[in-house]
């Protein structure tokens, strides 16, 4: 056969079959899967790039060298040579005088070019709020409202800063790197660097931080950081915002997991619908395929014709699904904006091809086995009205699972979670089929079993065991999804939102010296405040793993390189920190002498560390050695003081360390914090309230986006149920038609059909409820670090919903069978 002829035949078949609705189910299932996949892909991409953009704002630069002494000029020279933009700032606490009042304030003197990233928000003398990349002109300062209030000053007033008198030109509302400053608890003032010398405030021993900020392309920045790292003076460090705020990353990652899992549920449901649609298509076309074989089409020609038909379907579904996916994603972005800036960057163009790829992967993965069945249609089938044999091939499950797995790992972004989800689904299907088989076996009718009456309904299920099992398994998957949506989702999302407690600590105190420990806790006790737990902390750099020196260049992943390059905060304690959970290995016995480390699991994953590995850290020049004895899941979003690496106290006995803690400051307790700062001037107090507010807002908005995704899953569940019920309908019609011909009354048939549908629904609902319970419990525990979660209400709910859904969906059969003449029913099949 000429290629053109098969192409033409395929097109002709496609056009006619699309018109006749033969391909509707397949098309709908594919479109929905592609919509789910592309919407999440688009959305994740936009959020990722949006967050990366936003992250640089927190630094006002791409990277910062932060030092307690002015940096050598070679740093700026090298940055310029690397083609980077650069600017500098000096931050220090000092008194400010105005109208006879003196207030402690944080000064920030900035050079031209500030801020390199992000924007400053100001209110000028005209009362108008403005946002832009500005800095104060020489001779003027910007003060925040706290400072203005305490000084009782207004815009236009003059203030005295050491030896200089400067004019307050604007009220400072927000500055990009404000949250990163250590002294952000006290009123703030920004001035031009040109005026700094005139103040005479910077002297030997001033507690000033000198920051060299750079911005440029990623290669430029990493080249410069590599250069700078080699030459860092004592007391200097590199700042890169990506690791600075694990809370934000953690919330975002969980949000992405939720979205990815929901999308994957949709895709899996759609895949089930696709498989059912293809199977139905095959069984309806079996004889036609045989006719074509009789007419002389070879196996490969026949395969080519139907491959082309399916390919067209995939292409059309890919285009429609991508367009819909873009729309849904716009909806997601609309619900989620506000926390990554008012507008997200546009999705990357290559993603538009992802819909096509997804449609092709799904269709190929799910229909290749069917295609091979098409190739093997015996021409003899034309003479026999036989039901097509299910294509028996190991390829079917392997291909289907492989293609779903590929899509899942791409969507969720974490292969192990994708694997877990697919394994879970397989287990569920196996258990569902097993349960259905047991039920069918248990009611296997003996000879002479009733054909009329309620009991006959159950017996009828057992008379066609495989049909019943397939229908139960297919329906229970979608019902499980439905139950998950109705019950589990609400509770999971609520629990997730609750994991960010209203009472989360919002203030960190660092640099508490060991000798201050007692005075510090007493200060809290005397003020009637809850006494926070102080944890020791040292800065440590990872030197070697299993005696192999660690080099950044050994790691391909950028995140891993940066982790190796930076210093960790390392702590030690006897007991597992509150909220932490050991995921592998064992926590040490309190008081033991073991040289043991416990490592956060995400860090371990990134750096490829495992229990039993020997780590060596450099702590202020002293090497510290120990083995990893456990990995921990850390609730970053708790805002308690958390550590990537914790050691058995025995490892650090006698080593000097400063202490840190976190506690909650209510609005009315602000004066207490001010007194704390006065009392302990060397202690650094950091207000993270803004970050908490931001993370909470992010979680709330992501939760709304996830609900939209769940809506899509719900539609997919309806689609699968529809596909399953179509086969159910067709199988029941013939029987009922025959029974009427044999003289059964409408009432008798109605009873049998209803009984059969109710039994089917109840059993399906039960299986689905058990599945939803397991899914909820596993997801809570394994994916979201939430407590075990089991809801027994699901069982009665599942049974009732299953009975109602199946019976309602089957109602048209009963109506059609009892209202139309038997011969019409028989002929219509």
């Amino acid at each position: 056969m000429k290629r053109l002829a098969s192409f033409r035949l395929a097109l002709r078949l496609l056009g006619r079959e699309a018109g006749a609705g033969e391909l509707t189910l397949l098309m709908l299932a594919l479109v929905m899967a592609v919509t789910a996949i592309t919407s999440v892909a688009f959305f994740s991409d936009r959020v990722r790039s949006g967050l990366a953009q936003r992250a640089t704002w927190l630094l006002a630069a791409d990277m910062v060298v932060n030092a307690d002494q002015p940096l050598p000029d070679s740093f700026a020279a090298e940055a310029r040579r690397s083609g980077l933009q650069l600017t500098r700032s000096v931050t220090f606490p000092s008194m400010i005088l105005s109208g006879g009042k003196a207030v402690l304030s944080t000064y920030k003197a900035v050079e031209p070019g500030y801020p390199l990233r992000g924007e400053v928000t100001l209110v000028g003398a005209d009362g108008q709020e403005r946002t832009g990349r500005w800095r104060p002109e020489a001779g003027t300062v910007w003060a925040d409202s706290r400072l203005l209030d305490r000084l009782g000053a207004r815009l236009g007033d003059t203030v005295t800063l050491g030896g200089a008198r400067l004019t307050i030109a604007a009220r400072l509302v927000a500055e990009p790197d404000g949250a990163m400053d250590l002294y952000n608890f006290i009123p703030r003032l920004m001035l031009a660097s040109e005026d700094l010398a005139a103040t005479g405030l910077i002297q030997e021993g001033s507690r000033a931080r000198y920051r060299l900020m750079v911005a440029g392309t990623t290669p430029q920045v990493s080249r410069f950081s590599a250069w700078a790292r080699e030459r860092l003076p004592r007391g200097a460090r590199l700042e890169n915002v990506e690791e600075a705020r694990p809370e934000v990353r953690s919330a975002l990652q969980q949000g992405r997991r939720f979205l990815g899992l929901t999308a994957m549920l949709t895709v899996t449901l759609c895949a089930a619908a696709v498989m059912m649609a293809v199977r139905r298509y095959l069984s309806r076309h079996w004889q036609q395929l045989a006719v074509l074989r009789c007419m002389g089409l070879t196996a490969s020609e026949l395969g080519r014709v139907f491959f082309l038909v399916f390919l067209w379907v995939a292409l059309v579904a890919g285009v429609i699904g991508t367009a819909l996916g873009y729309g849904v994603q716009e909806g997601l972005a609309y619900l989620a904006t506000g926390w990554v800036g008012s507008d997200l960057p546009a999705p990357a163009w290559p993603l538009f091809a992802s819909g096509m790829v997804a449609a092709l992967v799904l269709l190929l993965g799910l229909t290749l086995p069917a295609m091979s069945a098409i190739r093997h249609v015996p021409p003899l089938a034309v003479l026999r009205d036989e039901i097509p044999a299910t294509p028996r091939s190991v390829l079917t499950p392997v291909l289907a699972v492989a293609s779903l797995l590929a899509l899942a790992s791409w969507l969720i972004g974490e292969v192990d979670i994708a694997l877990m989800m697919m394994a879970g689904l397989l287990v569920f299907l196996t258990v569902a089929i097993g349960l259905a088989w047991l039920v069918v076996k248990a009611v296997r009718p003996g000879p002479g079993c009733a054909t009329i009456g309620i009991r006959a309904g159950l017996a009828n299920l057992a008379r066609r065991p495989w049909l019943a099992i397939v229908q139960m398994a297919a329906l229970s998957v979608s019902l499980m999804a439905l139950l998950t949506l109705l019950v589990v989702r609400n509770d999971l999302v609520a629990a997730w939102q609750k994991s960010l407690p209203e009472e989360a600590p919002n203030t960190y105190a660092i640099n508490v010296q060991d000798v201050q420990r007692e005075a510090f806790t007493r200060f809290f006790k005397e003020a009637g405040q809850p006494v926070p737990t102080l944890s020791p902390a040292v800065r440590a750099r990872l030197m070697s793993v299993n005696d192999r020196p660690v080099r950044a260049t050994d790691y391909a992943e950028g995140a891993a390189r940066r982790l190796v390059e930076r210093e960790f905060n390392l702590s030690w304690r006897d007991s597992l920190p509150e909220g932490n959970r050991v995921t592998e290995g064992h926590w040490w016995n309190p008081g033991s002498r073991d040289a043991a480390f416990s490592v956060e699991e995400g860090l371990a994953r990134t750096l490829g560390l495992a229990v039993g590995d020997r780590l060596q850290f450099d702590v202020a020049g002293t090497p510290v050695d120990a083995r990893i004895t456990s990995l921990r899941a850390v609730p970053w979003e708790s805002f308690r003081v958390n550590f990537f690496v914790v050691a058995n106290p025995a490892v650090f006995s006698g080593m000097p360390a400063s202490l840190m803690t976190s506690f909650r400051v209510r609005e009315q307790d602000r004066p207490f914090v001010a007194r704390l700062i006065e009392q302990f001037p060397t202690v650094t107090v950091i207000d993270v309230n803004q970050i908490i507010v931001e993370v909470r807002r992010m979680v709330d908005r992501l939760a709304r986006a996830i609900e939209l995704m769940f809506g899509l899953s719900l539609l997919a569940g309806v689609l699968v149920s529809w596909a399953a019920l179509i086969t159910l309908r067709e199988s029941r019609m013939l029987n009922a038609g025959l029974m009427r011909t044999l003289g059964a009354s409408r009432g008798q048939i109605r009873t049998v059909l209803f009984a059969e549908l109710m039994w089917l629904g109840a059993l399906t609902g039960l299986i689905a409820a058990l599945g939803a319970m397991a899914l909820g419990a596993l997801a809570a525990r394994q994916l979201f670090n939430l407590p075990w979660y089991i809801d027994w209400r699901l069982v009665p709910m599942g049974v009732v919903i299953g009975m109602s859904v199946v019976t309602l969906a089957g109602w048209p059969i009963v109506r059609r069978v009892t209202r139309t003449a038997p011969v019409v029913v028989l002929r219509s099949l």
């Binding site: 056969m1 004889q287 089409l297 070879t298 003899l380 003479l383």
Partner: protein, 235 residues
């Protein structure tokens, strides 16, 4: 027997079955459907295969047409041993030389009557498929039904379209399986008249499976299947 002599004989034969047998194992039971059947059909000849329901008529037809595998024996179609060929080679052999007519018509429901008739021509790569098919539809008296879909045609009309589809490639041999089985008597007669007329015009050999003895009587030879044995190859 000299091989050259064999070939000479084969040339006149369109179809020849030698010691053809078929048995199946069904639930542990060995069922013999066909025992050592011999049959030959020359160019332009017609043979009717008759027998009771379940006697194995359709099985014999499917073996003769190469749609099924025998347990033993061989079939030569147009001088070619069918079971030396692969499934695809048999398909190519059928493509422009073998026609089929089935009891339940087996038209493709998505294609119009004309497209159904065009299909074999297109499969054979003929450029004049539309013209050829239209002419054939005229010959079966359905020139006014070209754009109708099978579901809008009566049973008799559907079978006439099936005849047009079978004859449009001018086959060397036609296999017909109970072509009137789904038709009333008078429609069935019209279809059979058409079948034999076309058969004669085209000089096609015909293998006709039927349980209608009157219909069988119109063929050159009658073979009767009883208990899996093929009896008599003559009037």
């Amino acid at each position: 027997m000299a091989s050259s002599n064999m070939n000479e004989v084969d040339k006149t034969l369109v179809l020849e079955a030698r010691q053809l047998a078929k048995s199946v194992d069904f639930h542990g039971e060995h069922l013999v459907i066909l025992r050592e059947a011999d049959l030959s059909l020359a160019r332009g000849e017609s043979v009717a295969i008759v027998g009771a329901s379940g006697s194995g008529k359709s099985t014999l037809l499917s073996l003769l047409a190469g749609l099924d595998y025998p347990s033993n024996g061989d079939v030569f179609l147009l001088g070619q041993s069918l079971f030396d060929l692969s499934e695809d080679q048999r398909a190519r052999l059928r493509r422009d030389r073998v026609g089929f007519v089935f009891q339940n018509f087996q038209l493709l429901p998505q294609l119009t009557a004309l497209e159904n008739v065009m299909l074999p021509l297109e499969l054979a790569g003929r450029r004049d498929a539309r013209e050829g098919a239209t002419a054939m539809m005229e010959r079966v008296g359905l020139g006014h039904r070209l754009t109708h879909f099978p579901r809008h045609l009566s049973g008799g009309e559907q079978q006439r379209v099936a005849l047009a589809r079978a004859f449009v490639i001018q086959p060397r041999i036609l296999f017909a399986d109970e072509p009137t089985g789904n038709l009333d008597m008078s429609t069935g007669r019209q279809v059979i008249d058409l079948l034999f007329r076309l058969n004669e015009e085209e000089g096609t050999s015909l293998v006709l499976v039927t349980h209608d003895t009157e219909l069988a009587g119109r063929c050159d030879a009658i073979c009767r299947l009883v208990d899996g044995r093929l009896n008599g190859a003559g009037r």
